[in-house]
């Protein structure tokens, strides 16, 4: 096919996975191009997901802190606060991030085509430009990193006016008095806790018995405790049978147990689906799972040789951090580069209020894999910095082998959890022992001291003369959920 521009790697999508893959390949001296359907690079992460929602969360946190210190002044939001005020500065943050990423791509000599890609063959993409014209482009290897979008329930219409999804909730004009959140996963719990902290009356509803059910129950319990303390309520084991506008001011929401409730707005956050429509995957034989996700092997290669996939299109954990690592590794595998280690210790950060972060194995996983485990706990309220910061609901858990020597995992809940977990991540990556935390000197006063307190808790529990050997071969223990 003469006249078609060719690249060593073509990347569909410029979100965290696509961007990191492209940069990895470009830094290895390969010719790389990204095809992005939107005007800006960065994907949903930057424009409708991670960054805007975290900016809103920051406002909710600020309000929570002000309330903590200012009860005497009865501080709070007025009833008619424009929602845009709470997202003040987000567009500047997004624009700055956009500029940074665009500059990074340009600096690395990565070509960016704007358009919608579809496969003509395993090595040739048809690109539909925004003006309706087409062109072809060839890639020796192609990475699909087209992301995901909120799942729409089949029996309810998301009108983006009264019933919202996790994209349109950020376009609200006013803070509603009440909000029903359908779902118990990460996105549902993040928004539920944010709106509760902003003073909204939040009801979270799900079939599950507890929110964030995939987490260590102690962590999800802390979330529920804080959420309830902020005025939220969680309706477990229930689902929405019907929801409709009452014609006057609120939604009538009927649950499958016969009860009902009313709310100004409803957020549906029941997972996300992969953006695979229009890619023409059927025609070239890329196989999808029953859930519509692209199937990949350990090297992130799809069922078609030379075509790789990374990020939300391959499913959980659907975290930006994991997507970046998947993108990087996919590029390495695609181009025959050394991928290195590191995937075992990708942390998971959940931006609820309070924050939650995990890395490595939790208690149940460690017991399941190694037959036993010791758990060391440190409550933030017992740490000087926790007292100073008023971080009463925080906790750090270290999980070790049954002998109390080898670190297997870290879970943190509370202010700064997503930062604090990186100490544990580095310890895991360097095979640090529990004793290393005991011997280490941390800044005082800091929350990092919780590592030492939790390590001492494990030391206290060690068998007097342990006959259990320390785990030296951790193998594949850090499988991402």
């Amino acid at each position: 096919m003469n006249g078609i521009e060719s690249f060593d790697l073509l990347v569909i999508g410029s979100g965290p996975a696509g961007q990191k893959a492209a940069v990895q390949a470009a830094k290895a001296g390969r010719r790389v191009a990204i095809i992005e359907r939107q005007r800006e690079v960065g994907g949903a992460c930057v424009h409708s997901g991670t960054i805007p929602s975290k900016a809103l969360r920051e406002k909710a946190l600020q309000l929570t802190r002000v309330r903590q210190i200012g009860n005497a002044f009865q501080l709070g939001l007025t009833a008619d606060v424009p929602f845009a005020v709470l997202l003040d500065g987000v567009s500047e943050i997004v624009a700055a991030h956009d500029r940074y990423m665009a500059a990074q791509l340009e600096r690395n000599g990565i070509r960016c085509f704007r358009g919608r890609a579809s496969f003509k063959s395993p090595t040739v993409l048809d690109v539909l430009r925004i003006d309706g014209s087409h062109f072809d482009v060839r890639g020796e290897r192609i990475l699909i990193a087209s992301g995901s979008r909120p799942r729409q329930p089949p029996d309810m219409t998301v009108d983006h006016e009264n019933i919202l999804d996790s994209d349109s909730i950020l376009a609200l004009a006013y803070l509603p008095r009440s909000l029903a959140v359908i779902g118990a996963g990460v996105i549902a719990s993040e928004y539920a806790s944010m709106f509760a902290a902003l003073g909204c009356e939040v009801t979270q509803i799900d079939r599950a018995e507890r929110p964030l059910g995939f987490l260590d129950p102690e962590l999800s319990g802390r979330y529920l405790q804080s959420f309830t303390a902020a005025g939220g309520r969680f309706l477990a084991g229930r689902s929405v049978r019907a929801a409709g506008w009452d014609g006057v001011a609120q939604l009538d929401i009927a649950l499958d147990d016969g009860t009902s409730l009313r709310a100004d707005k409803m957020l549906i956050a029941q997972g996300r689906i992969a953006n695979v429509e229009g890619l023409g995957l059927d025609a070239i034989g890329v196989k999808l799972s029953a859930r519509g996700l692209i199937e990949v092997n350990d090297e992130l290669c799809t069922t078609v040789r030379g075509i790789y996939a990374a990020g939300d299109v391959i499913g959980p954990p659907a975290l930006a951090s994991a997507a970046m690592e998947q993108g990087r590794r996919a590029a390495c595998h695609a181009l025959g580069l050394f991928a290195g280690a590191g995937q075992d210790s990708v942390p998971a950060g959940i931006y609820t209020i309070p924050e939650i972060a995990t890395v490595g194995l939790d208690e149940a996983e460690a017991r399941g894999k190694f037959g036993g485990a010791l758990v060391g706990r440190s409550q933030f309220k017992e740490i000087a910095r926790g007292q100073i910061a008023g971080a009463q609901d925080g906790m750090l858990k270290l999980v070790s082998d049954a002998g109390g020597r080898t670190l297997l995992g870290v879970q943190v809940v509370g202010d700064g959890a997503t930062e604090l977990v990186h100490v544990g991540q580095m310890a895991l990556a360097t095979d640090a022992t529990i004793d290393r935390f005991v011997d280490n000197v941390f800044n005082f006063p800091t929350l990092a001291e919780a590592y030492r307190v939790a390590a001492l808790d494990i030391v206290r529990q060690r068998p007097a003369r342990s006959s259990l050997p320390a785990i030296t071969d951790k193998g594949d223990r850090f499988i991402l959920r």
């Binding site: 009108d159 376009a171 609200l172 014609g247 001011a249």
Partner: protein, 289 residues
Amino acid sequence: MAVMKMALKSLNAEPAELRERLRDALAADQVDLPPLPQVAAEVVANGAADPRNAAAFSRLIQRDPALAANIMRIANAAAYRPRAPIVSLQQAVAWLGITEIRNIALAVCVRGQLFVAPGHEPEIHGLWRESVATASWARALARLKKRNVESAYLCGLLHRIGRAAAIATLSRIEVAGRHTVAARTFSALADEFEWDFGRRLAEKWQLPASVSDVINGWRNAGRATGSSAEVLQVHVGHMLAIEVLHPELSNLALLDEHGALADLDMYPDELQALRKEADQVLAAIAHLG
């Protein structure tokens, strides 16, 4: 009806003189613009769909019999297909919802206050239909792109209030002077002063920043980078409004040339899908226009 404070003694003025007088009056802040009716002000201040004060809003409407009657007439229009005749405001609210009632109330108020120009009824009526159509398209676009739906409608409805005010003012000049300004001159002056009057109204009515931005920038959306979503939605909405109201004048290719579709991330198939909502837009024009 508000009248111009400016001196109108030389009413057989030439276009140039009339232009100068309008300009001087605007510069000296001597043009009387109508106040924003209380109901409309409430909608603008609290958001078109803010449900918090539904009951209070209903009471506000009830205090204005003419407005309540207008809402009843519209609620009974064929476009809404009520199951049975609507006989009370409460029933209208229950049937259409407070959001729609707010939109209707805003439309009725703004139209009654601003879209009145004796001697120029066809033009002002056409402008009104264009505003309703633009608002409806902007709302559909916002829904498609997951933007704020209520804000989009408000911006669309008010995007040409400057032209309406300019036409109304020129019309009053004609009436007061008992003479007629030549049609071409009249239209040229309305074009020329649309932006000035719009800006003044936005200030006087304390319209949200998004509406002011739309009044200022809807014509040039896409040509300049950094247009807000509302500005782009109204720009595209206006072009689609022209397509349904005046197909002979329509040129959607301009949307590509202006870059508005690209800025909104609208691919050709998405635009085609959106255009299928033309019947709903026409229905909105039928009952509000």
